[in-house]
């Protein structure tokens, strides 16, 4: 009996180890490859550990590629998108989470259905819109386009947060003669802080990772974001991709995301389950 228990236990931990390696290995491989010299990178059989870590690859990403500029573009675009979504999304979420009015369900479903739009179905129309507004190849083109998925998502996550905040404080404020806007700003927003962090983080990550719009609405590095840059990295010749640099750039953009995820783990999971399982 004891023997069976311990074999079961061992098999269980073996299974866990297999899952863990499966999840982590590709990232490990990106890190290892980013530290290899060309000789190590193109060695056969494959080297599983860089003998002489070559940090120069991380420098090359910024000197041989315009990656610093791409990072700046991504930060500004994702940051602006997030702030705008939170700003206008929070009032909408307050209306949907707290008020009773005719047409609320219709509005709610309309917003929800926008979040399920395939981006490709608006690509042509969006391109024409952006061209006619003169925004092509600018940050604003991407900020505008990204609202299509960050705004409905933000409204959804914030609405579910607001519903969980007790009403008593608000009612007290109304009795004291506060306007709805004051109630939202002074009473509700501080209580919503965790929700704002969750929704903001998820919106930021979505905007940071977006590829289709960024690929289509930018033409050069003046507005090109990180995912497009990483997809289009080119080396000395057309046939020779700078893999070490691509991997170094990949690690650079992934590490902050992983850190964010680690720090805000609990909130992200609850936000995702609110935003995904329920809609």
């Amino acid at each position: 009996m004891r023997w069976r228990y311990w074999t079961g236990r061992a098999l269980f931990y073996l299974l866990l180890a297999v899952i863990l390696v499966y999840l982590i290995f590709p990232f490990y491989w990106a890190v290892v490859s980013s530290l290899k010299s060309p000789q190590e990178l193109f060695a056969t059989p494959v080297l599983y550990w860089p003998e002489h870590p070559r940090w120069q690859n991380y420098v090359d990403v910024f000197t041989q590629q315009p990656f610093g500029h791409n990072l700046l573009n991504s930060t500004i675009v994702a940051g602006l998108t997030t702030l705008l979504s939170l700003f206008i999304g929070s009032t909408a979420a307050y209306a949907l989470g707290r008020f009773r009015f005719l047409g609320k369900h219709t509005v709610f479903y309309a917003i929800l259905s926008v979040s399920m739009f395939p981006q490709i179905s608006v690509l042509g129309g969006m391109f024409v819109l952006i061209r006619s507004l003169g925004l092509y190849n600018t940050w604003w083109a991407l900020v505008l386009a990204y609202m299509i998925f960050t705004l409905p998502f933000t409204i959804w996550v914030l609405t579910s947060f607001i519903r969980e905040i007790p009403r008593e404080l608000e009612e007290a404020a109304y009795v004291d003669g506060a306007s709805p806007m004051q109630v939202l700003r002074i009473v509700l927003l501080p209580l919503m802080a965790p929700g704002l962090v969750t929704a903001g983080l998820l919106a930021f990550i979505q905007a940071w990772n977006e590829f289709l719009f960024a690929l289509t609405f930018t033409i050069d590095n003046s507005a090109r974001t990180v995912p497009v840059a990483i997809a289009l990295f080119s080396g000395a010749s057309q046939y020779e991709l700078p893999w070490a640099q691509i991997m170094a750039a990949s690690v650079i953009v992934t590490v902050p995301l992983i850190v964010l995820v680690l720090v805000f783990q609990q909130r992200l999971v609850s936000g995702l389950t609110a935003g995904a399982v329920k809609g």
Partner: protein, 296 residues
Amino acid sequence: MTQPSRLAARRTRTAWLFLLPSLLVLLVVAAYPLWRTFQLSFYQVSILQFPLQPEWVGLDNYRFLLADPYWWISLKNTAVFTVVSVALETVLGLGIALVVNANFTGRGLMRTAMLVPWAIPTVVSAQMWRWMYNDVYGVVNDLLMRAHLIAAPLAWLADPHLALPGIIAVDVWKTTPFMALLLLAGLQSIPRELYEASTVDGASPWQQFWQITLPLLKPALLVALIFRTLDALRVFDVIYVMTGTNPTTMSMSVYARQQLVDFGALGYGSAVSMGIFLIIALFAAAYLVSLRVELD
């Protein structure tokens, strides 16, 4: 007017005022571009000339779409990608969720590790795997050869039989943990007493899984499934980065963008986009019906 109904009218007005900015933005970034794409699908128009010089062609683009072999190939690729990846992600995700739901030391570490593939941008994970799949210097071939599963290196992304399965494997790697997290939330809402009671009654873990876990997990499972299906049907990033517009792996979204941007066919590309929209709208409608969201 009585006092309460005047109050209600004022509350209604406030609510609409609060909704106004969001509705306006969505009108501009969602409704208008969708309408414009729909409109453009009845014209022949080049993306290269601004201002546009559209030429009315009626339903010609749609007629052409129905006869276009590349559209059907991209539809088939997308269907295969969706069915296989969603099925694998559900089964593997459920497996991982069940394992992680058990009590063990290091559970926090495991949950954290599950978020890593999700946090990595799709483009980045596609590039990482593209390098791993490299036919000469790739680690995938090396590992498979060391394990004596293959005798010679395979050209994963160049071989028409291997490219789509290879891409599906990347999507499965990236999305399974996310699926597992969603299902884990469902598992944790099942009352422990049910298992305790059935253990007393002599039920085996196997019976418990089929009689308790699966039926009670069904709502969460269904929603996760539809959610993932909607996502998989519009797949673009991973396929575009790994194999570009190669017809053997091209998805519907990749094809639409190729027509719109690479070929500059704004009219026909829009018709392709509307085809995709219609297909996904059907799935989305099923999703909304199955949700029955409670608002208050």
